[in-house]
Each structure stands twice: as structure tokens, then as C-alpha cells.
Symmetry: C2
Amino acid sequence: MATDVTSDQLEPPWWRPPKQRARRRAPLSRDAIVDAALGILDADGVDALTIRRLGQELGTGAASLYWHIAGKDELGELVYDRIMGEIQLPEPDPARWDDQLKELARCSYRAMLAHNDAVRLSIGRPPAGPNTLRIVEWMLTLMRSAGIPDQPAAYFGNTLGRFLDASVLEASTAPPAEDDAESVEDGGDMMREYWASLPGDRFPNLTALADTTFDVDADDLFEFGLDLLMRGLAAYKVP
Amino acid sequence: MATDVTSDQLEPPWWRPPKQRARRRAPLSRDAIVDAALGILDADGVDALTIRRLGQELGTGAASLYWHIAGKDELGELVYDRIMGEIQLPEPDPARWDDQLKELARCSYRAMLAHNDAVRLSIGRPPAGPNTLRIVEWMLTLMRSAGIPDQPAAYFGNTLGRFLDASVLEASTAPPAEDDAESVEDGGDMMREYWASLPGDRFPNLTALADTTFDVDADDLFEFGLDLLMRGLAAYKVP
DNA sequence: TTCGATAGCCGAACACTGTTCTATGCTGGT
DNA sequence: ACCAGCATAGAACAGTGTTCGGCTATCGAA
């Protein structure tokens, strides 16, 4: 019975083990570091997440962190996987496979978005952490049980993951910007005015659709793309 | 007849004008800087593209560049738009709208990919440059003439753009790696072995699909996702 | 033709970054 | 009491993007 394999033992081989776990009190540990990193991300975004700031937040120096983490890249993977760990997975139900898959996508989207622009830490990297793999496994189970062939299922997992990253990135870099004043011209309005100011004879559609394009709720846009992808995937269902 | 509007006059208002054009010989100019930047990108990738290296390549100091460009962000936009300018657009033909749209996506994909990982310079930024807008305009024309309503058309342009960026990013960060030796274990193989080594009782699908997932050609994956999106978009066609 | 204005250029410096080297505490086992 | 070692940091290194101030060469106007 090897069913009680904890997620700690599933860490990829290139995640350097923390040179044995902390012994006495735990002022520093991988978990504590990831906690602090998430706190900085939530508060001030990814640009504020520096090694020195992280050490300062933990009441220690920057060099101390390198005993527990290999570098900033690994920190990014750890943080990403921690966020993926927040996602709860229901029991796969083949009858409602499309609803469940969409709901998982929405959960992932919300989880990443809840941590500011943390997605920029890990965009473009393949899924690696144990929590991420747990989700991929769940997705594959669901799709196979629903009659999606292996090849489209494997491809779709990849495509959906990249779509998710891109959507979260877009949503996190262009916040609603309903700040405090009315004269605050955020980037969106500036762009809209620029589009509208283009010569109408050369760009008739751009000028006509300027409002449609920029009166976009990032969440609606995500839902639109998700629907597109799911519609396309359903066409691969065989039985 | 304002039809001879050159693309120079279409630059967004936040692209600082080069404080009048170069006067005598032209050792430095925005175009020359973008040329050199593209050269560095093609040769050594985005990590090698630093301001100092760029100045060195142009036979000048780093500070001189700041007379012509506002900073590295603007350089990224300029480079991105330059690459988009390489794309040739055919006359829109509503009868073959889906083929033409897919072909445009493939052209963009190839154009970005031809310049190494240049996509990392501009990922997540909204389309802004004149050449990019020309493409968006063309897409909108095609979709509207084909009977796609305005809202899906505007949304689809956004979604496709992000899908493109993500695909190029993936394809450029995981090259075929068929280098020279057979013992070279690139990241893909390492990941595949890790997946295959996972406990089969907890991850039956991951282990079963390890080969399917990693024997993936990035171009095939792109084509798969593109097909998914286009299939979904076609459902919005009204007439 | 002379001459100031200024566009264009650039070395040096600033404030950062991630990372490593080295030294030094502190701990538990013998 | 001692010592191996884990764990912690200060200082320093090699970079980065960016800015400051001074420099030169050219141009339009007197």
C-alpha cells in the first residue's frame, strides 16, 4: 500500500532537497520562504519580489535564503506550485466532463489572479510541481473517461495551460483602474483614444470597433476564449 | 486624399518622437537601433540584449541610445512591431475567411519564431505599434465581412494574439534539442522520465501519457490549438 | 563671416539586481 | 568538553537599466 505517498516525496529531482529539514525552531524553511514570497507578491507585485526584500521580510539576510532554495527560478516554481495547491478538485464525473473542465479552468484562473501578477514568475515554464501534476492528472482522467482520445487530450492540457497563463497575465497587467479620481487616464483609455484617432479611411474597422475592443472585461474575455477551446475540444469526442 | 499616410505618422502618442530626425550622417537612429537589437536577438537571444551590448554593437556608448529611445520597454515594442511588419497580408477574401485567418496566424507564428525568443520582450503587452494595428485591422475586416458579429470578432482578435504569443514562447523556450550527441538529456527527456517514474497508482494517466505528452512537436501543438480556436469561432458566424 | 544655440553623443556614476565567498555562530551527539 | 555540521549572514562581485553633466559639431540667424 503505497497510497500514503505525500506530496513532499513527489518533488521533481531537480528541486534540490533543502539539505535536510530545519532542526530546531523554524525561522527559515522552504515553506516559510514561499509564504513570505506570496505575501510580497500579493502586496506589491512581482517586481517587488527581490531576494533582499524577501530576506528582509523574513528578518534575515539575502544570502541565507540560498541555503534553502537554489535560486530565483526555483522560487518561482515553488510559488507557482503553491498557488496550484490551493485548487480543490472534485470527483471526476464523466457525465459532466465539460462543466467540470471549465470549472477547473475558472478555479485556476481565479487562484492565479488572486495573487496579483504572480503568473509572470512562471509563464512559459512547463508544469512541474507536484500540485500542478495533480491537476494535470485529474484533467487527463476526466478527458479520457469522457472519450477524448489520448493525443487530443494531451495536446489540450498543454493548450489550456498556456491559455490560462496568458489570460491571467492579461487580466493582471490591466487592472480595472477605477482608482479614485475621474481624470486618471489609464492605459486603456489612452489606447482607446489612440485607436479612435486613427485615420478612418485606412483603419475603418479599428475606429469602428475601438469601443468594443476596449470595453472588455478581462473575465468575459477569459470566458469567451475558454468557450472557444471547449467547443473545439468537444469535436474530438469519439463515443 | 489622405491615403499616403506613412506608418511613421501613425506612431502612438506615447512613443516619444526622436527629437527631430538625425541630421548629418545617420550612425544612430531608431531604425538602426531596432536593426541592431534584432541582430542580437537572432544571434544570442533576449537575455543577451542589454543596453550596453546594443551600444557596443552600434559602435557607441550605452547612454547615447537614450536620446532615441525612451527605455528598454519602448525598445521591446519597437522590435515587436518591426517583426510584425515582416508579415505580408493578402487581399481579404470573405469566401476563404477561415483559411486566410489561419494562414495569418501561421505567418505571425513563423515570423516571431524566426527571431529566437524575441516574443519575451513584448509578451503581455497590448498591440500598439502601427504594423501590429495594420494586422488587427486586416483581421477585423476579414471577420466582419465573413459575418462574425463585432463582439466575437473583437474578442477573438485578442484571444488569438495571446494564443500566438504563448505558442511562440513555448516553441522558442523548448527547441528540438537534436543537438549533436545522443547522451544530451534535455529538459524534455528529464521531464518525461520524471513523469514515467511517478507512482502509477496515484498518477495512472500521467504515466500512461508521458510519451504522448512529451513527443510533441511545438508546431503540431500550435496547429492543434489554432484549429480549436477557429472551430470555436466559426460557431459565431451568423449569415 | 561670425557666433551663439542646440541636437546629438558619451564617460562616469547611481541604484539596483541575483549570486557567491567566506567567516562565524549555534546545535546535538559522542 | 569537545567537535562535526547545519544554518546564518556580511561583504563583495558582476551584472543590469537609467541618469547626469559635460562635450563637440553643426545649423540658422545676425
